[in-house]
């Protein structure tokens, strides 16, 4: 039992650390640190910088342009990325769709889409949830009916992050109404510029436009855009959920957040003394730091299993639940520390300290963390059924 990196891993870490120091634009770092919403240009340009160094599709195998890193190397990379203050990469194409195409896609689909994901030519969004199908995803109703060589899509998707930036969408659609609901779902790729698609923005409680509702009105999609077989969509969606658990807890980003909170607590003054000298605040920060240590070591256990080629142990099931709880708790602390500055809304640095400008926005935004990607309650249902054998 040990928690040490090997000599090679330490060298790798040094290399990655140096690269971020050299290549992360100061303005991007500033925006990311204080929680300012990044523009599409910010994100695309940073993705391209990462790609130029071979640091974008880090979870992909060599044959598709990835670096063939070990799980430990990927973990180190993500930790250094976060510690440097760099934003997390866009995941829809790289983390979600890429592995699906590699596992279930045709040769044509792989050749057509994978290089475009890698080179940031396409922006993918995910069409899963519907107004009537949230936690109960399998009850989704968007229809895809085959008409000649094309599927005709009718229905609506909701909570579609960055649909307004995307030129492609991977979607779960219903191709069969006369079987078990899971077995009637298919996975299909949709060109967002096709006629019949309407995107309506949804502004979330952080006052920003990340989310959308997408409407499909007789949208025609070529048959060859189906991934896998008809009725295989649910299997593919589940495959995605079990993929890549080693960074799902967001430990590295939370560590940086905590470090920044402590720094703020040392520099901000309340009642004539640094905030950190407030005995209650001190203990609140300490309590979150301790929870974060527990999360980090749980994450290490999952990582060590993955790196050794073993299936992650049962502890990996708590990473999302506990990780998002910690993210929320830290954002809550920031709001509490901000005091009256928590009133600031889309203000600039003439109104108050930079570290508090977006504190409330971030807190508001992160309410979604325990809802997206399978809500905490759904995660617990799954653990109860699959791991604890309760039914």
């Amino acid at each position: 039992m040990n928690i040490d990196y090997t000599k090679e891993e330490l060298e790798f870490q040094q290399g990655v650390r140096a690269w971020f120091k050299e290549n992360l634009p100061a303005d991007l770092k500033r925006k990311n640190q204080i929680g300012e919403t990044l523009s599409k240009e910010d994100m695309v340009s940073w993705q391209k910088t990462l790609n130029s160094a071979g640091y974008l599709v880090v979870s992909w195998p060599k044959e598709h342009g990835g670096p063939d890193w070990t799980a430990t190397q990927r973990y180190i990379f993500d930790s250094e990325r976060a510690a440097a203050g760099a934003p997390i990469g866009l995941s829809m194409g790289i983390i979600m769709l890429g592995p699906v195409l590699m596992a279930f896609g045709t040769e044509e689909q792989k050749e057509r889409y994978l290089p475009r994901i890698k080179d940031c030519e396409d922006w993918w969004c995910q069409g899963y949830s519907e107004p009537g199908a949230g936690s109960d995803l399998a009850s989704l109703k968007t229809q895809a009916v085959l008409d000649g060589d094309e599927y005709v899509i009718n229905g609506t998707k909701i909570w579609t992050t960055y649909a307004h930036h995307a030129n492609h969408c991977f979607c779960l659609v219903r191709t069969d109404n006369d079987c078990k609901i899971q077995a009637g779902i298919s996975f299909i790729l949709i060109d967002m510029t096709a006629p019949g698609i309407e995107i309506r923005p949804i502004v979330s409680i952080d006052g920003e436009h990340h989310l959308n509702q997408v409407f499909f009105d007789n949208v025609r999609v070529p048959k060859e855009n189906l991934v896998g077989q008809e009725g295989q969509g649910w299997t593919i969606a589940k495959y995605l959920l079990t993929h890549e658990r080693t960074t799902i807890a967001g430990v590295a980003d939370s560590k940086l957040n905590l470090l920044n909170l402590k720094e703020t607590a040392r520099t901000q003054i309340a009642n004539g003394a640094p905030l950190i000298e407030d005995p209650q605040l001190r203990l609140k920060i300490a309590a979150e730091e301790i929870k974060l240590i527990a999360l980090e070591y749980t994450n290490f256990r999952t990582l060590a299993d993955t790196a050794a080629g073993r299936a992650p142990g049962p502890e990996s099931s708590l990473l999302k639940v506990k990780g998002t709880e910690t993210q929320q708790a830290l954002s809550e602390l920031a709001v509490e520390m901000a005091g009256y500055y928590a009133y600031l809304w889309k203000a600039d640095e003439t109104a108050g300290p930079a570290e508090f400008l977006h504190a409330t926005e971030k807190y508001n935004f992160l309410r979604a963390a325990t809802i997206y990607g399978g809500s905490t309650e759904v995660q617990k249902n799954v653990v109860a059924k699959m791991l604890l054998g309760l039914r």
Partner: protein
């Protein structure tokens, strides 16, 4: 990075778990704690023969050269069986005090006998007014010629009722709460002037208040350095925290597993209560509490040996806070989910509850260690 046990460690784990399963069931334990002495000397000898008492000590003194990881493997299994034999007081506290600070003579004469199962130890650091503060020491050791004369009373001494020798913290200089000026002395429990007021603790084990009335010992009784006993004491207690956290983890895990099994079989309204979502989520929360605590237990065992003393202290305090909170939580949930039967003396669940409740306050409460952690800074 690797969190799996070595082949040797796995053998130890299997052996201790097998012992608990075959030779230390709930009934056996109840008989042991109902007996006059409150623990079983035959079982203690068995532990010695199996090598468990020497598992973490250096080979030069007859140990097996293991680390806190091995100690925690044993303690976790003991927690599952709620073992009352004085492993914590004799091996982890007394034994480590000698292993870290003892003279060669103390190691050869006393530690070797700890490993062979022939000597029981206790560490007497607490006093009526000191609460969790290890530096608040009124007990005095006054130098008279070549002797030290000890006077004072040490309270709530783990294993104090059984100890052949007691390691006592006493003030050789400085103010009552000064970290400087504390010295540890190895005192024979039968020595003149030592009186042991033994009593039962809530989990059935025996402890004691130990009074020292003009107890005279030589300089060869000093463990560690004169006036510098505080650092040693703190280190030993940090090792104690790690070991006790492992024991709590074993008890939490047992309480969780028994509760999970119970909700699958207990029927109300015509169905197993484990089919209710409100019960299912509570079991998932217990499961997460146990697994997260397991991570924290690994963390502290790995960090104890750190050369950076602050890192060691922070690790011990973090583990005590985290596992303390989660131990209390699991104990309360186990009782609640068992319903009426959970509050009875008859069922083992109530005994896990007692044990875990005691754990929360041992070596410092959650609040105490949260403050200690915060004070240690970056």
């Amino acid at each position: 990075m690797d969190f799996s046990f070595s082949e040797e460690q796995t053998l130890i784990k299997n052996a201790v778990e097998k012992f608990i399963q075959n030779d230390y069931d709930f009934e056996t334990r109840n008989k042991i704690i109902a007996g006059d002495e409150g623990f079983d000397r035959g079982i203690w000898k068995q532990f010695a023969d199996l090598g468990w008492l020497g598992i973490s000590f250096p080979e030069e003194v007859g140990g097996f050269g293991g680390s806190a990881v091995e100690t925690n493997i044993v303690m976790e299994a003991f927690g599952g069986g709620m073992v009352v034999e004085p492993f914590l007081s004799t091996v982890v506290l007394g034994g480590n005090a000698l292993a870290f600070g003892g003279t060669d003579a103390q190691k050869q004469e006393v530690l070797a006998k700890v490993i062979s199962g022939d000597v029981l130890l206790a560490l007497a650091y607490g006093e009526a007014q000191s609460r969790y503060d290890l530096s608040d020491v009124k007990t005095s050791a006054e130098k008279k010629a070549d002797q030290y004369v000890l006077n004072g009373e040490k309270t709530v001494v783990f294993g104090g009722a059984w100890a052949d020798k007691v390691i006592v913290s006493a003030r050789t200089s400085g103010d009552q709460c000064s970290e400087q000026g504390i010295t540890l002395f190895l005192v024979d429990a039968k020595a003149e002037g030592v009186s042991v007021n033994a009593y039962k603790s809530m989990d059935g084990a025996r402890m004691a208040n130990v009074s020292l009335n003009n107890v005279s010992v030589g300089a060869d009784a000093i463990v560690g350095s004169l006036d510098e006993g505080f650092g040693l004491l703190e280190k030993v207690i940090d090792y104690g925290i790690s070991a006790l956290c492992a024991e709590a983890l074993g008890s939490m895990n047992a309480a969780y597993e028994k509760t999970l099994a119970y909700v699958k079989t207990r029927e109300q309204f015509g169905v197993a209560i484990g089919s209710f979502q409100v019960i299912q989520h509570r079991l998932v929360d217990m499961f997460m509490a146990v697994e997260s605590s397991r991570s924290m237990g690994m963390m502290v065992a790995l960090k104890l040996g750190s050369r950076d003393v602050v890192e060691r202290k922070k690790a011990a305090s973090a583990a005590k806070v985290y596992i303390g909170d989660n131990a209390r939580y699991c104990a309360q949930e186990a009782v609640q989910l068992h319903g009426g039967i959970g509050v009875t003396e008859e069922l083992d669940i109530g005994h896990y509850f007692r044990r875990l409740t005691l754990f929360c306050g041992a070596f410092g409460s959650t609040d105490y260690h949260l403050s200690r952690f915060a004070d240690l800074g970056e």
